[in-house]
Amino acid sequence: MLQIDTWKRVVIWAVCALGILLALPNGFYGRVETANDARAAIEAGATADGLQEQADMWPGFLPSSLVNLGLDLRGGAHLLVEVQLSDVYETRVKGMWPEVLALLRTERGRIGTFRLQQGAPDELRIRLNEKPDMVDEAATIVRSLARPVASISGAGSSDIEVTTEGADVVIRLSQAEQLASDERTMAQSLEIIRRRIDEVGTREPTIQRQGDDRILIQVPGLGSAAELKAIIGTTAQLTFQPVVTRTDNAQMPPGAGNEIVPSVDQPGQYYILEQAAVVTGEDLVDAQPSFDQNGRPAVSFRFDPTGARRFGDYTAENIGSPFAIVLDNEVISAPVIQSHIPGGSGIITGNFTVEESTNLAVLLRAGALPADLNFLEERTIGPELGADSIEAGKIACIVAGIAVLVFMVASYGLFGVFANIALVINVALIFGLLSAIGATLTLPGIAGIVLTIGMAVDANVLVFERIREELKTARGPARAIELGYEKAMSAIVDANITTFITAVILYVMGSGPVRGFAITLGFGIVTSVFTAIFVTRLLVAVWFQRRRPKTLEV
């Protein structure tokens, strides 16, 4: 047992050296961070003065991955949002009206007159006024609009479900289409949020999908959650809608298929608009801040080919009627269409400042969020609180470490020194592992490390106590050490596996800081077992072979 193969020794030392090497950058956190940032900037093509010097602050041949500091240590903003997935169903179903209208018009001879009813938000309800008994006929006609669902799981089913209720034809999205739509909405929301946050350009934001309809956003270094909400929460829903009439009565019933929308720069002025938009922000390919012919700030935009065609067709057919440009449920302006606008580009004017027009262009370019967001959780942690926590954690770690080191030497003498060397390597290995996988260190994570410092000695204690016991039966020190390791093994393994099980469950079930704690605890268990049964044993073996003591005091 005290004979350890050379290759094993090499592997053990190599693992320790690797761990220490990987942990090293964390000892020079600020310096390495500056160097990493500078390198990233140089790679991105920046050529500011002093950038190269900054990059050279940390030698390139050394590892440079750092432990990420969690929000509670670095400060920043945290948001958990819920995407209102069913919003999209409504937009989709209501948006079908012009298409349905056009189709049914051609069949008016057979089905008589019909009218759009005010139904539930996720349905389109059409009542046959003249010939209610033709309702099945009408449903069959509408069904011809169904398209196959564009997703793997929904393959073979169609996107809408057409049913009849009395004299009503009811159109809803099919189950398969709803699922497909949910997936698309989430993917789109994630992408848009990511792009908006990237425009702000902060370091290492976390944007993660959680569960079916949630997104977790963490942005270190941001002033407050309110700021973060302002960045992502502005929906910038741009639509171009036909104007039915204008009014100054906010209570005026808009009528089926229409909606009432306030004007942005004329208080008390309202527009009644057709609910189905001709073109929306989704059809935009580009938006830029610019100026109109009077030199006032404006936003110019361009549509994609489908949008351009629809826009062109509409303007050709409706010369002389007003057309509302609606942003986030407010009419920005409602110009009268002067001529056919082909080519699909245009300009939005309004009472913008230069800054507003720039922001609007950014928002339009990033695209509108497909659905509203509900804020479920928001946290702002000030950077000073984070710095205080790090400072306190650091001091606590050092004091705890020294106290344990002293205690171990007092209790086990030379063997305590071996255990201490293993303990220091253990902490280095934890940091090395955390850096290597880019894990996030949180405040409970620091507590996990401190706890590990306390518990890491446990495996060594088990062995040392066992050696003491075996020494009593007096079969010589070498045999006692051997038996000590052998017999303590089952207790070490069982005890650590059970603790590891709880760490895994914490990781799977937990979130945020709890998860950070689970990671450090889990790593701590693995590294403490490794250091106790390999590193300490190797140290003992080396010492024993050199000295060959006749008696042993543990």
Partner: protein
């Protein structure tokens, strides 16, 4: 000269008053339950929704001023507490303000936070808002659910593991000891009305892990001694095993406590509740692995016929179906 927490060989009779110990534990569990039923827990916003604002100011904190500023906003139940920590200087006065979740609000309302901040800034000019956290009632409900599931799952998984490695009596003894520790920890949080938030759940699970660690080490020795002394009565085997492992139990508990106490004193107030839970858990866990798990094992009895030949005692750790 070595520091010895426990004499080299001990022969305490741990089972002489086994009913007394079980009685004490039972009584403490009952007290914890009663406290939980009567007072409940001081749930943080993680579990019941709402907002906490941590403020800092150079002026000494006058809770009445704070209350006066915020109270007029009509936000329902508001708790204002001053936070003390040895690391704070004289010009660092920290307060925590907790606002309950507003009725009928699914999500967090930024207007409420803004109103509170404005009102406080009016009353205390140099106030700074170091952290602001809000959790909507929807999420907090789910968090409770997840937390309970996590604790139950952890205990269940451990039950199965020990059952596989030992016998069902061991598993039951260990799990009852765990439940004892968890109940007592929740009990002290209820009794002292310390804020109970998500991190405390992490502490609870760590306690589960730690207490188990201790129990398993004792049980491992019991298993070994049961094989070694086939004729010895169970009570004596248990007593011997506890005595033999006592030195290790104390060493590990003390080193862990040293580290935890350092953190408790110096680690700052943000995680004090969390560290307190762990410190308490280590003490209770050490006690329970000796006085609860083993006592229960004694009452349940153990199958003594280890029919499997003990041919691989050298590497029992590989003998999963033992």
């Amino acid at each position: 000269m070595r520091l010895r927490l426990v004499p080299q060989s001990t022969n305490f009779n741990f089972f002489g008053r086994s009913w007394l110990w079980l009685g004490i534990s039972g009584a403490m569990v009952v007290v914890a339950f009663v406290s939980f039923l009567l007072q409940g827990l001081n749930f943080g916003i993680d579990f019941r929704g709402g907002t906490t604002i941590r403020t800092e100011s150079a002026q000494a904190i006058d809770i009445a001023t704070y209350r006066g500023a915020v109270g007029s906003l009509g936000l329902g139940d508001i708790t204002i507490t001053e936070v003390f920590d040895p690391s704070f200087g004289p010009d660092k006065n920290v307060a925590m303000i907790r606002i309950q979740a507003q009725d009928g609000q699914e999500a967090v309302t930024p207007e409420v936070i803004a109103a509170v901040e404005a009102a406080l800034a009016q009353a205390v000019p140099d106030i700074r808002f170091v952290s602001v956290e809000s959790v909507g009632p929807k999420v907090s409900g789910e968090l409770i659910q997840t937390a309970v599931i996590a604790v139950v799952l952890a205990i269940g998984a451990v039950l199965v593991y020990i059952w596989m490695r030992f016998e069902w009596q061991f598993a039951l003894g260990a799990v009852l000891a765990l439940v004892h520790d968890v109940v007592l920890t929740i009990g002290i949080f209820s009794e002292l009305q310390i804020r109970f938030d998500l991190a405390i759940i992490a502490a609870l699970l760590t306690i589960v892990g730690y207490s188990l660690n201790d129990t398993v080490v004792v049980f491992d020795r019991v298993r070994e001694n049961l094989r070694k002394y086939k004729q010895m009565p169970l009570r004596e085997v248990l007593n011997l095993s506890i005595n033999e492992t006592l030195s290790r139990t104390m060493m590990t508990s003390v080193t862990t406590l040293i580290a935890l106490i350092a953190l408790l004193v110096l680690g700052g107030d943000v995680i004090r509740g969390f560290v307190f839970a762990m410190t308490w858990g280590v003490i209770v866990g050490t006690y329970s692995s000796i006085f609860v798990a083993s006592m229960i094992l004694l009452r349940l009895g153990v199958k003594r016929d280890w029919s499997k030949p003990d041919n691989n005692s050298g590497n029992q750790y590989a003998n999963i179906d033992a």
